[in-house]
Symmetry: C2
Subunit: 388 residues, 2 copies
Amino acid sequence: MLGNFTYCNPTKLYFGKDAVENLRTELKNYGKNILLVYGGGSVKKNGIYDRVMTILKECGKEVTEDAGVMPNPTTHKLYEGIARARACQADLILAVGGGSVCDYAKAVSVSVHCDEDPWEKYFLRFEEPTCAIVPVACVLTMVGTGSEMNGGSVITNPEQKLKIGHVFGTEVFPKFSVLDPTYTFTLPHYQMVSGIYDIFNHICEQYFSGTDDNTSDYLSEGLMRSLIHSSRIANLDPMNYEARSNIMWTATWALNTLVAMGKDTDWEVHMLGQAVGAHTNATHGMTLAAVSMAYYRHIMPYGLAKFRRFAVNVWGVDPAGKSEEQIADEGLAAMEAWMKELGLVMNLTELGVREDMLDGLVKSTLVMETGYKVLTPEEIRAIFKESL
Amino acid sequence: MLGNFTYCNPTKLYFGKDAVENLRTELKNYGKNILLVYGGGSVKKNGIYDRVMTILKECGKEVTEDAGVMPNPTTHKLYEGIARARACQADLILAVGGGSVCDYAKAVSVSVHCDEDPWEKYFLRFEEPTCAIVPVACVLTMVGTGSEMNGGSVITNPEQKLKIGHVFGTEVFPKFSVLDPTYTFTLPHYQMVSGIYDIFNHICEQYFSGTDDNTSDYLSEGLMRSLIHSSRIANLDPMNYEARSNIMWTATWALNTLVAMGKDTDWEVHMLGQAVGAHTNATHGMTLAAVSMAYYRHIMPYGLAKFRRFAVNVWGVDPAGKSEEQIADEGLAAMEAWMKELGLVMNLTELGVREDMLDGLVKSTLVMETGYKVLTPEEIRAIFKESL
């Protein structure tokens, strides 16, 4: 742990079957007016909406609904949410959904009492809130982003063709989140495995950087091993509570700042994937999966010691009698085999990328400075091309 | 993660060299009157007292000192601390020291505004505070107990010959803790390795229980691997910042509730060790080390699958061609070799236990119900005898 750091994560998590019942206790800490935020119709189909609404009513709350939060929440939707929160004088914003819904709730929470334009202040100028913040809580129904226990919020401005994330400080973290693994049972397989790869890549982005010896990397290895193990079970048996609960818990700890403490991080795969997302609207986790193998094989020589360690500690590669490169190669091969086993999208063509789009993708890709290799535009192009 | 649980840990951690400078910002959140709690003279010898005092004075605080907190803080000392905190109307209790000093500060914090006897209320009746709690903060100078980020507080009543721990809720957790690994450099080798084994055993106590597949156990394996690795470096080179920083961070996460989430835990080694401590006043970590091998070899058949996993995942035992018992045995042998390498006390005789004390030790040993084997008095006696 060579770097100095500050760690603080005050979010309270209620985990397990029927954890939503804890809402009854928590709601006592907040005023009468609740802005209930959710996405499309899925929470109505699976009964979660009804259950939450029943509890809210039984607790005597006045509920204002803010439905229709899209997978990539837009500035237009944000302005609408702010207006609703102001009109009902929201005492609490309750997000029921996945990472997008929770991200959106946080963006509303810092904007209700803000006199400036929130897109410009938070997402273009990356300023911190200077106004009162409406508390946010979350009932999680999809796993992957870790938004239930962090300050992350990603908003898209369709006119400016910009999708920007702001990582807010602890005062914007959800006050509490409800994590019931059974709420993830009804998710389609494509979405489930896409989320699983998003989690895995969150860990990789923090693991594949830095040369120091760091407890955070050992924690990352533990999370990766748990995720690989449970993903194989859930892939065949999506209703397996034990596996789905481990995946849910792993997702939270993969991106709540813990495994980044005291070390450098990369995040280049997310930059490549987000460029693909901006040009295709493909599912986030699949964009990461499609570019990962080309990216990691490309940077492996620059971070060979860590890739060797990844092979042995995460994938159980036997190092006896092999060169460092062979060991590292076998690790990446094991990772690729696991990704195929889950049924992830392993190429960009399947996501709608054509060769004539590569120049645009390269232009849309931000270059991170702290990975094992700072990519040149030519390298980015080569990685995209290899991923076709 | 088969069990339901609630996770919340609001303590803010400032980690790294010169992290104590963050006191200047944090102190603004509290009133003028500071109760400065510390132990013997070590913080004066190594300069930490002077540095903290300088910052407190420069921040305009009124400081009341409460020195002389002993390794096992007594009820007498607790009453003295309560009187001092009341007299100075403490707005913040600042603990500068190791786990004992921090434990003691928490006990004072819940007692200042309490009308009942704190020993009876908190340590005999295990009640929660019903009064206002004076906030606690910590500048850590020894690692092991995790008290810097949990609600644990152990107090000894010498008349009643009782040493009892109460794990308080999050409102009693330190508001913030300063973790500067360089503050641990001057600790004698005996104390350093004793603390390292205390950390390792905290993880074992949470790992060796339960049959379900749980992300917590994967995190535990990561922490153990990091600790084993860094302890070997620190054992030869105590001034190695990287190793000492990893050990400090591992200690915090070994006992801040994370790796116990959603699973059963054991804690029988601590019960055996605390009985030894009550009869000999031996250093806590060494009492754990002296009884561990006999205990774990005794319970291994009842938790064979977990001991096999421990051997392979923590100690890198090659399972090929071996029976489950052989693999598990090799894991415990590797653990024993590591303990000897560190120079831990591996028998009770060296700690002053004689065979005629065994009956007394057995009587003093609490029996936990959730480990792999609920011990009978005969088994406890046999474990102590084997540990002589």
